[in-house]
Structure formats: C-alpha cells, structure tokens
C-alpha cells in the first residue's frame, strides 16, 4: 500500500490535492457566502452601502483566492518537507528531498479530509447565521471554547490542535516507514522532533505576528 502510494507521480498528486481543496472551498463559498450572510453578519457594524461594496469587492477578487490555493499548498508541503529533511539530516539519515516532498504531499490529503468533514458538518449539523459560523475548525480544541472570548493570540494554536493534525502526524509517520528502515514508533518520533519543532516555531511566529499586529 505505502509503496503504491509513494509510486504515484508527484505532479498528479499535487493537482489532485489542488482540485479537492478548490472543490471544498468553492462548495462552501457557493452554498454559504451569500449576500444575506454578509448583511446578517455585518449589519450592526456597517451601513448597507458599505456592505454592498464589500460584497462587490469580495466577488470581484474571489478568483484571486483560488489562485493562491496552489501557492499556499506548495508552501505548506515544502515547509513539512524542509522540517523532515532537517530532522533526518540531524539524525544522520540519508533521504532524498523529493521523496520527502511526496510523503508531505500524500499526508496533505488529511487536510482535504478535514475540508470535506467541515462541509458535511456545515450541511447537516450546523446552522450558519454569520460569517463567524464558517470560521470553525472541525474536531479541534477551539470548538470547546467560545471563539469570541478567547484571546486572539490563542485562536490559531487552539484551532491547530485537532484530530486532523494528529492524523496528519500519524500519516506522515506511516508513510515514512515506507521510505526509511524505521518502525512506526521511531518514524513518529522523527515526525515529532522534526515537523513538531518546525510547527512549534511556526505557531510562535503566528502568535508573535498576532500580538504585534492586532
């Protein structure tokens, strides 16, 4: 199974990933980002004219958001690859960068799953009345707290601690067992020390930006 997955062409994986992420984004946008949702969400803060302009602006530039998806995915996958590569380098393991890139690409499908689960929850279990209702992260610790009462600095780390992030770590470790002679437990340790360290630094960076820009 792992060998089959690692044998798939990386460009095909990349385009498949973009297709699924674009699909879920488009579906959420088409189903929920209606004019009435904007008016309901911003009606108490902005005048009707301002909201109309905001809708016009967001519709005009919506395509730009979809254009950015491949760039964001590429950056996310490259980030994971660099973390893993550094981890293997420090542990004296020789692994090719492009192989780790493919592992990171495959693991990224976990976030596609997260997007699909979000869509399903939105369709069947959640009532969407405001734009804030769309910002939830499915199966994350953040869902236990009231978003409006949580410090802005903690929103990102709490949203990150989720079932899907855990699954991402597990999938990374499982795929790495097909790449290097390591048990699943050891692979998971490598993921924790390499990707985990990188993620911790990234979270610190986001928190740093949040406290300085808000």
């Amino acid at each position: 199974m792992i060998n089959y997955l690692l044998g798939i062409n990386r460009w095909m994986l990349f385009f498949l990933l973009i297709f699924f992420i674009d699909f879920t984004s488009l579906a959420i946008s088409y189903l929920y980002l209606t004019s009435s949702l904007y008016y309901q969400s911003l009606g108490e803060q902005l005048t009707v004219d301002r909201i109309a302009k905001l809708i016009e602006f967001s519709q005009k530039w919506q395509w730009l958001g979809y254009l950015f998806i491949p760039i964001v995915v590429l950056l996310r996958v490259s980030f994971t690859t660099i973390c893993l590569y550094t981890g293997f380098f420090l542990a004296n393991f020789k692994v090719r960068f492009k192989d780790l890139f493919k592992v990171a690409l495959l693991a990224d499908f976990v976030f596609v799953l997260a997007g699909i689960v979000k869509l399903v929850i939105l369709i069947f279990f959640k009532e969407v009345n405001t734009l804030n209702d769309l910002q939830f992260q499915p199966l994350s610790i953040m869902e236990v707290f009231d978003r409006t009462k949580v410090d802005a600095m903690l929103l990102y780390p709490l949203s990150l601690i989720s079932v899907f992030e855990l699954l991402y770590w597990l999938v990374l470790a499982w795929l790495l067992t097909g790449l290097v002679e390591k048990s699943f437990g050891n692979s998971l340790k490598t993921v924790a020390t390499s990707y985990g360290t990188g993620l911790a630094l990234w979270v610190l960076f986001v928190m740093f930006l949040t406290v300085n820009l808000t």
């Binding site: 301002r50 550094t86 380098f89 420090l90 600095m153 360290t197 911790a200 630094l201 610190l204 960076f205 928190m207 740093f208 406290v211 300085n212 808000t214």
Partner: protein, 169 residues
C-alpha cells in the same frame, strides 16, 4: 564540518524560538499595562497643525472626548471622516480629536477639507510623531477610536474629588 552545521542548525532554531517567545511575552505584558492605562484619558500631548503641543485631556470635560487615530490614505478612515462631516452637528457635542501619524500637513488639511471636517465644532487634528500613539494607546491600527466620558457625580466639574472615567474603544 557536518557536525558544525548540525550544531549551527540547532542553535539557530533555539535562538529564533527563544527570541519569538520572549518578544511575544514582552508584547503581551506591555499590552496588559497599556490596556489598564487607556481606561482613563491620559495626560499626553500631540503636535497641532500649527506646530504647538496640545494635551488630549485639556478639552472641555463636560463633553465626551472622542479620539480617532487615522491615516488620510486609509479607505475606512475616509469613510469614517465622510460620516463625521455629514453629521457635523451631532459630533459637535463631543471633543473630537483626530490623530494621524507623521504626515504632511498639506495632505491632512486637504483630507479635512474634502470630508468637511472643519464643519464640526470642537474638532482638532493632531500629528503623531515617533509612534507616540501606539506607546500611549497600545494600537496603531487605522482607524482606532477611543471614547471617554468623565462621570461627575455632583454634576459639576468643580467637585472633582469623585471623578471617574468611562471609556469605550
């Protein structure tokens, strides 16, 4: 050489992580202090368009004081200014203090004229040099608004011993 590189990577990660954590912690602590400080109208001055220093707490204390931090180039600020200009009579009931970062006086005056801000009585535009506003009010986001009411229990500004501030921002 390889071992040296490994140590360098580890040290770089520790330095970057430590720096980010320290800076974040210090900023949070500073914001907490500023958060307490902005609850009352502070005794601080900004430069007027004529060049003199004006203290924000030296306006008519019987009126609410509205402090707006703006930038003439910011679209939200332009909209806010146009609304203030349209409702000049209503806003004349308050001390309106508009503060902008170090900008050209000509541009600020053109902004005020365009949105009819001079129609508002008690409206003052001040210049913020050297990020003084951020140090005092804890934010440099455009536009930021702070509203202060001085609650006077005996309905008189002469009996100030029981004064307390109510603030909204």
């Amino acid at each position: 050489m390889k071992i040296l590189l490994k140590y360098l990577i580890i040290i770089a990660l520790l330095v970057v992580g430590g720096w980010l954590a320290t800076q974040t912690y210090q900023t949070v602590q500073a914001k907490k202090e500023i958060g307490k400080r902005v609850q009352t109208l502070q005794h601080c001055s900004f430069e007027s368009l004529n060049g003199g220093q004006i203290f924000v707490d030296e306006f008519d204390k019987r009126k609410p004081t509205v402090i707006i931090y703006f930038n003439p180039e910011c679209e939200h600020c332009q909209y806010e200014a146009s609304e203030i200009g349209k409702e000049a009579e209503q806003f004349a009931k308050a001390n309106m203090i508009l503060i902008t970062p170090n900008d050209s006086v000509k541009r600020v005056e053109a902004f005020a004229a365009k949105y009819q801000l001079w129609e508002v009585d008690n409206l003052t535009i001040l210049l913020d040099h050297g990020k003084q506003f951020k140090n005092r009010f804890g934010t440099a986001v455009f536009p930021s608004t702070f509203i202060y009411f001085l609650l006077l229990p005996y309905d008189s500004i002469s009996k100030r011993q029981n004064k307390s501030w109510f603030t909204y921002h």
